[in-house]
Symmetry: C2
Subunit: 489 residues, 2 copies
């Protein structure tokens, strides 16, 4: 069993029949993840880390355009500091890993490994912020995070250690904060849609689901083929809560002391799992083209019966590769002759390379190559002179197809609900309920209890009108807004 999982043989389950087994198998067989010796701490192998590097370079450039600068704050947070903001510590305490000893000695104070860095960063912010001239302050860091969860770990989606970026901005006014927190959610939305080809639902989290210590939290969410929703990224309006707890203040233009307004926003390696879970198929992964470590793989179809052909095939492969690389396309050439073309097709299909290029003896004769799309299997014959243009165009078509396919699924899954019974039925079918809601925490508790764990996803920015005197779909209160509900990771 262990051996089979590590081999390159095909998947033994269908995505539609057993999503979670499909997901685990596909990710391991594609060599994205290795399980480590500590439960929940997984190894990002080169093939998945390269996806993360592509995500990083996209997001980092977007952040910098908004005036954000990168920095690095310590991994370890003194217990006293960690406890300064009351709601924050209550939210995170159960998941904190504690350092208590070094070498052979006990530490005098326990140190928390960062589960998020508000507390350690704001302890410095209070030294740096004196005047309105010091604002806005916009700092981001790309770091590892530890949250010692006890739920069953799932690669990328729920791991005790993960990588992320966390941005922490300080603004002079509430208006600036409200605008800022949307700016980063918008960047995350575009990262999902334009980079990972994943459609999302954007909105505000409920009181029950917001970040511990925030005034409110914005999120992007999507839906997996197994009918479970998954949170993609969050942007938190922290209000003045942390500023008051940490003593961050500034003198405004009239020399009056003010507490500033803060936000924090994060995007993690979970996004990789989301893209893989949304796009894969029964043959394995389908990596969205714009983050794929190899956007195209060249597989020669050697022909040894007539001398000279293999040399010509290799030469053409090299020429085509050089041309594509010059265009900035990420190419893998699988030219070894120790494996059959069939073995290679299978290998790169499992790994989800968006385009396979086949070059055989007939192609050499006719000065062409064959492209095969991973997303739909379509074969395209291309004259060698047109390879660059067609490959670029095909990568974009694959992106669009993946996105549109997923968007249709996400849209079709949204159903209006007007009672807990209907919601239970809807989420039982793996769909998302959309109901008029009061927003109360005890109402959400009740929904969760009555439906076997349904939670609110978010309250969309785009709100349909509520009928005059509209009641909450799930209790006797007055409805405040429309909200999404489903089972989720």
């Amino acid at each position: 069993m262990e051996e089979a999982k590590h081999s390159n043989m095909g998947l033994t389950v269908k995505k539609s029949e057993n999503f979670s087994e499909w997901y685990t198998q596909a990710i391991q067989k594609a060599e994205l993840i290795e399980y480590g010796s500590v439960s929940g701490c997984m190894i990002l192998r080169p093939y998945s880390y390269a996806i993360w590097e592509n995500i990083q370079s996209y997001l980092d450039a977007k952040f910098k355009k908004t005036g954000v600068k990168n920095a690095y704050f310590p991994l370890l947070i003194p217990e006293k500091l960690f406890q300064l903001e009351k709601e924050h510590v209550q939210g995170f305490n159960p998941e904190v890993a504690w350092v208590t000893a070094s070498g052979d000695s006990q530490l005098t104070e326990r140190l928390a490994i960062r589960p998020t860095s508000e507390t350690i960063m704001y302890d410095s912010y209070k030294k740096w912020i004196r005047s309105y001239k010091d604002l806005p302050l916009k700092i981001n860091q790309w770091v590892n995070i530890i949250r010692w969860e006890f739920k069953n770990p799932v690669p990328f989606l729920r791991t005790r250690e993960f990588l992320w970026q966390e941005g922490h901005n300080v603004l002079a006014t509430k208006e600036e904060m409200d605008k800022d927190v949307r700016t980063y959610l918008e960047i995350y939305k575009k990262a999902y849609e334009n980079l990972l080809a994943v459609p999302i639902i954007e909105g505000r989290k409920s009181e029950r689901e917001k970040f511990a210590g925030a005034d409110y939290t914005l999120s992007v969410e999507t839906l997996f083929p197994n009918g479970k929703a998954v949170q993609g990224a969050t942007s938190h309006a922290l209000g003045q809560n942390f500023a008051r707890s940490f003593g961050i203040s500034f003198l405004d233009k009239k020399q009056k002391k003010q507490y500033p307004w803060q936000d924090s926003w994060g995007f993690s390696t979970r996004s990789i799992g989301i893209a893989l879970g949304v796009h894969g198929d029964d043959k394995g992964l389908v990596i969205p083209p714009r983050v794929a470590p190899h956007q195209i793989v060249i597989v020669p179809i050697y022909f040894s019966k007539q001398p000279g052909y293999n040399e010509k095939i290799r030469k053409l492969a090299k020429e085509v590769e050089d041309g594509l690389v010059k265009m900035g396309i990420r190419v893998e050439s699988d030219l070894h002759d120790d494996n059959s073309p069939g073995f290679k097709f299978n290998k790169w299909e499992i790994r989800g390379v968006p385009i396979r290029m086949e070059i055989g003896p007939k192609d050499v004769d006719e000065n062409k190559v064959v492209l095969v799309r991973r997303d739909n299997g379509e074969k395209i014959e291309v004259k060698t002179g047109e390879v660059n243009a067609v490959v670029l165009e095909t990568l974009n078509k694959i992106h669009d197809n993946l996105f549109n396919r997923a968007k249709l699924y996400l849209q079709a899954a949204q159903k209006k609900v007007d009672s807990i019974e209907v919601l239970k039925d809807i989420v039982g079918k793996g769909q998302i309920g959309f109901g008029a809601w009061c927003g109360n925490q005890d109402c959400e508790e009740n929904i969760k209890d009555q439906t076997g764990g349904t939670k609110s996803l978010n309250i969309p920015f785009d709100q349909p009108n509520l009928a005059e005197g509209q009641k909450c779909s799930f209790c006797e209160r007055k409805a405040q807004y429309w909200a999404y509900f489903s089972k989720s990771y």
Copy 2:
């Protein structure tokens, strides 16, 4: 005092008079570092993190050209795994920070925070390596590291947490390993010389100073103005030690089981401190141009007596900035009119920006600007049409000047020594002793005891001949080679 340290006022000590106080002041006043709430864990502020990003992008490209791929391995290492290689654990145990609890529960096994990742990585390598076809395996990671030292912390140079890259290669033969370990040392040497303008001494560490668990260690070292040497980076030939301890083996072409040969190599944020310590002067830091976050700062000299001039100055500043940015030059424009030019000059001098560009009313009239070099104060008038070319050329000149200045100092500091007494005298003057040496560990212990802490730096690759029957300069044994000795960080 605390307030003065955080202000932008000039330095209160001279570099030549009190190097360590100069270093601490310069680094804080330039806003590179903030001290955190845990001793030895410091904050890399945006200005220093940007230097690190420039170093990363240089090194990462060099590594990838050698076939290295990036990955990410867990932060936490189970105690059992950490102890598999005997010498390794002995070397690192005293400095390990231990995680013992999560939330409110005790862990069943203590987890070490990585002080280096050989053990956690090779635990996976043994699963990935089966055949000679799996070799070479070349993986690098960019991560944070914790070593809980109890010596006095020094920003960048000795901190309990630092950032680095660690590369871990597996080769089929000793010959390949011996070559490989030199490849990365060569990359490190070039990073110091061509990027950071720091001349280095390269060679092999003594038995006493090599990496815990290695067959041998190569290093680059340089000398600070206070006469203390500092290790710049290391590349370790691990031999088959870890392969045997971790059970990593492969079947060679004849289907015979073999242990592979390994190396590991690391370059850390210490390099930033080295460059700053080597190049700074009494006015503050001098950041080497190729890693400087701002390679040039534009400071307008406003002239309000005659209307229209300030507008013209701003316009020219913007034009010049746009032109430089198009050339890929990193420009900071300090256009605010709330601070005087003198204040700005001081601010950017302390921060070590390589070139300051002044634009005043006369410059606008005459279609020119003035460049001022940070390294030597030279003023250069440049016609606006020639700014791009002259700035590029000047950045290279500054690099060369910094490197040559430091190289002269490093060369002049090397003195041949033929006894412990002479060595003690030499290191007392802040110089480096170069002596014929037996290489024995007890001889090195004795040197250390007799000279107040002198250590061997390394045994250079370029060896002068030893005289027939040459004795060790420090004991009665036969000399094996020439080696460098000095006080060091």
